[in-house]
Structure formats: structure tokens, C-alpha cells
């Protein structure tokens, strides 16, 4: 059956509220739209493809269970999906006590996000987030990139950059608060 004419765009805009209602077509769309994102995060976090495959399955079950938690006033849907994914992956790394094996950490310090191609399904949200990240101070962006994208612990960042641990934590805190403010999630 077909959605009422003129409502398709909105109905397909956010998938998680539809999944929360038990709409299984939205589940298929969710896998198509976010599968590449979740898979890429899992590969980067875990390295090993077999571990990543298991983790992706866990993440999608988490998404279906928690679909009703998605609040469109707090974040874009891809951001919520990424948050659920990161939490599951961090938890998985803790439980398995493994470190990334096949994907060595890139020691390049991230600069301002560039215009490289992004996952097409989330390109608009990625562009907005990249703009926000570009607004951070250089040290904040550098430290956040090392922590979030490259997976360094705060102690490892301090050792790699020569910054005191407290300074690393302060950059992360201020950077996240600024990101939150720039993306409309609270006071800066």
C-alpha cells in the first residue's frame, strides 16, 4: 500500500519513529541508509571483519530496540545512529579487551574537515557537523579527532602531543560543549 500523496518525503525523512511503530519497511530502509555508516564505524573500531560483522548485527538490534528513544529535537537521525553505534563498539572493545588489529592508527593529526566524499546517505548531516568541527580551536579539534576518530585514550593523546593530561581533558570538554552549542544542542 502506498503512503498518502505528498507525505512520502516526510515519512522517509526519519526512519526510527516508523521503526518504533513496527513499520518493517522502515527497517529495510534503515539497513540500506545506515548500513554503510555502521559498518565503517565497526571496521574502524574493531579492525577484524568477523568482529565487525558481529558488532554490526548487535548495533542494528540496539537501534530497533531503542528506536523510540530517538528525539528529532535533540539530534539528526544519523547522529543518533552513530551514538548508539559508538556506545556498542566501545562496550564491545571493553568486553573483548582487544585493540584494533588490522587497521593501524593513523598518526596524522586531523586538520579541518575537508570536502572529501562522504557517505551519501548522511552527506548533509556530515557537512553540518564538519562545519561545526571547523569552528573549534585548532587544539580542540586536534585532540577531539585523536580521541574520537583515531581511538586514542586521553593518556595516549597526552603522551603523543606532550600536552598535560588535564589540558587534553579540558580541550575535549570545551570542544564537545562547543560542538553541542554549534549543532543546536545546548549552551556553548
Amino acid at each position: 500500500m502506498k503512503a498518502v500523496e505528498g507525505t512520502e518525503a516526510l515519512a522517509t525523512e526519519c526512519l526510527l519513529p516508523r521503526i518504533a511503530l513496527g513499520d518493517q519497511r522502515a527497517v529495510t530502509e534503515c539497513i540500506s541508509r545506515y548500513g554503510g555508516l555502521v559498518w565503517s564505524l565497526a571496521r574502524r573500531f574493531l579492525g577484524n571483519p568477523a568482529d565487525a560483522e558481529d558488532a554490526v548485527q548487535d548495533v542494528f538490534v540496539d537501534l530497533w530496540k531503542n528506536a523510540a528513544k530517538f528525539d528529532p529535537t535533540k539530534s539528526a537521525e544519523p547522529t543518533f545512529v552513530t551514538m548508539v553505534t559508538r556506545r556498542r563498539l566501545i562496550d564491545r572493545k571493553r568486553r573483548t579487551a582487544r585493540v584494533p588489529a588490522s587497521a593501524p592508527l593513523d598518526m596524522d593529526i586531523p586538520g579541518k574537515p575537508d570536502n572529501r566524499e562522504r557517505l551519501t546517505e548522511i552527506s548533509d548531516d556530515a557537512a553540518r557537523a564538519a562545519t561545526a568541527l571547523g569552528e573549534l580551536k585548532d587544539d580542540q579539534r586536534r585532540v577531539i579527532g585523536m580521541a574520537i576518530y583515531q581511538g586514542f585514550t586521553h593518556e595516549e593523546i597526552a603522551a603523543a602531543t606532550g600536552m598535560p593530561l588535564g589540558t587534553v581533558k579540558t580541550h575535549i570538554r570545551r570542544g564537545l560543549i562547543r560542538m553541542r552549542g554549534l549543532l543546536g544542542g545546548g549552551e556553548e
Binding site: L21, G22, N66, A68, K74, F80, M83, I148, Y149, R180
Partner: protein, 250 residues
């Protein structure tokens, strides 16, 4: 380390957003979140997720075999986590607004008898729908949710557990076979089905003004949705979603 508990909570949330917490930190975070229930536990994790998206660049496509596995997982998940919809004859007794309407007809008849027996004392007129709508709009805590493509709005007051749905443009259905059904996604019922808010019909001109009464208490309405279902409604929606009402800004 800061000694201000609120500042410490933010420190821990920022740490949790970027790396694994130690067991002691995790316990401390849990305690502080209980102490400051107004603090959104996701706010910094969402900021970190946005940064991750910004830095991720071009990702890898999902392997087709894994996509097929996920679709199978989904079928199993929804088969085991959703109750089977009850037959329409059963649901119409439980969920339809038609029987309450029949009840209203009886009540209206009784009211007429009472009004006659009290004659010539004046009987206060029942407020009109427009008056009820206006009262709800002005009530503290009433929130508005919009589905602009159908010129539709839901006003919902959590304290009163009352609301109004107004629709400006939806195609009328054959009421003997299909009806629209309203649902409430309640953040206070995480992992559970959306709350049934009843079935309704639109007039031939595509408009409707319907009072919203949830079947269960709704703690935190996040989204309203309208689906098209068999006449009388269902317990768990399987029909196509035709409208999604998002919170209005401001």
C-alpha cells in the same frame, strides 16, 4: 579533579563520550546522573557522534551478505518482539472510538431526559469543540506537533492526558473497510509499542478535528503518527504510515 558534583558529571559525560570509563567512573557517573536528573546523559555523546561523522569521510559500503543477514535478523526480531495484531472484530471492541461514540449517544439521550426533567431551569451548554481546543491551547504544558504536508497538528497536554488532532487535508477512506489510526511514541515506554490513540475518519473535504485520548498513560510524547488500518483499528500497526507529527519549534 573538580569537586563540584555538577562539573564532575560533565567531566564524566565528556569522558564517556570519547573513551571507555573505568568501573569506578561508571558507578560515579550513574550516581551523579541520579543526583542531577535534569542532565541529559546523551548530550556529549551526541556531540562526539557528530564529530565522528564529520571526520569519517567516505565510508565502506555494507557487504551484501551482511545486509541480507541483517534483514533476516530484523524479521526474527520483529516476529518475537511484537504481539500478533488482534482480529479487527476484537480490536474494534477495545480500540475503536465508535463504541465510545455509541456511549456518547446514550449519554446524550440521558442528558436530554435530565434537561427535560429539570425544565425550566437553564442547563449549561457543553463547550463546543472550538472552545475545548482553545482551552487546551492556553493550558500550561500543552505542546504542539505538526505534520505540515497535511496541514495537520496535534496538541497534547501530558498533565491532562488530553489532546486534539486537527487535520486539514487527508483523503477520505471507505469507513467500512479502512480507518486512520493515531499513535503516540512515548519515550517513557522505551522498547515498547507505541500507544494507541484511537481510530478516526475525515470528512469528505479531508478535514477532521478529533479529541485525542491515549489508551495508556503517556509519560513523554515524542512523536505522533497516523497510519491507515482496517476499520476498527489494530493493536500493533501494520498499515502504511501516512503522517508523522514532529514537535513544533518554540
Amino acid at each position: 579533579m573538580t569537586t563540584d558534583p555538577r562539573e564532575r558529571l560533565i567531566d564524566l559525560l565528556c569522558t564517556e563520550a570519547t573513551q571507555e570509563l573505568t568501573p569506578a567512573e561508571a558507578r560515579e557517573l550513574e550516581r551523579l546522573l541520579a543526583q542531577f536528573p535534569d542532565q541529559d546523559p546523551d548530550t556529549f555523546a551526541l556531540a562526539a557522534a557528530a564529530a565522528d561523522i564529520a571526520l569519517a569521510g567516505n565510508g565502506e559500503p555494507l557487504p551484501p551478505e551482511l545486509a541480507a543477514t541483517l534483514r533476516r535478523d530484523a524479521a526474527v526480531f520483529f516476529a518475537t518482539n511484537q504481539p500478533v495484531p488482534a482480529p479487527a472484530s476484537q480490536t474494534s471492541q477495545v480500540h475503536s472510538w465508535r463504541l465510545p461514540l455509541a456511549g456518547w449517544a446514550v449519554a446524550a439521550g440521558l442528558a436530554a431526559v435530565l434537561a427535560w426533567s429539570n425544565w425550566p431551569k437553564p442547563v449549561p451548554a457543553n463547550p463546543t469543540t472550538a472552545e475545548l481546543l482553545a482551552r487546551l491551547k492556553q493550558a500550561p504544558g500543552t505542546k504542539a506537533f505538526a505534520a505540515e504536508e497535511a496541514n495537520a497538528e496535534v496538541l497534547w497536554n501530558a498533565e491532562k492526558q488530553e489532546g486534539f488532532l486537527t487535520v486539514g487535508k487527508l483523503p477520505p477512506l471507505d469507513q467500512t473497510r479502512e480507518q486512520y489510526q493515531l499513535w503516540i511514541v512515548d519515550a517513557g515506554r522505551q522498547g515498547k509499542e507505541p500507544v494507541d490513540a484511537g481510530v478516526f475518519d475525515v470528512k469528505p473535504d479531508g478535514t477532521a478535528v478529533i479529541p485525542v485520548k491515549a489508551a495508556l498513560k503517556v509519560k513523554d510524547a515524542q512523536v505522533f503518527a497516523v497510519t491507515k488500518e482496517v476499520a476498527g483499528g489494530v493493536v500493533v500497526t501494520q498499515g502504511p504510515m501516512v503522517l508523522v507529527f514532529k514537535p513544533k519549534a518554540g
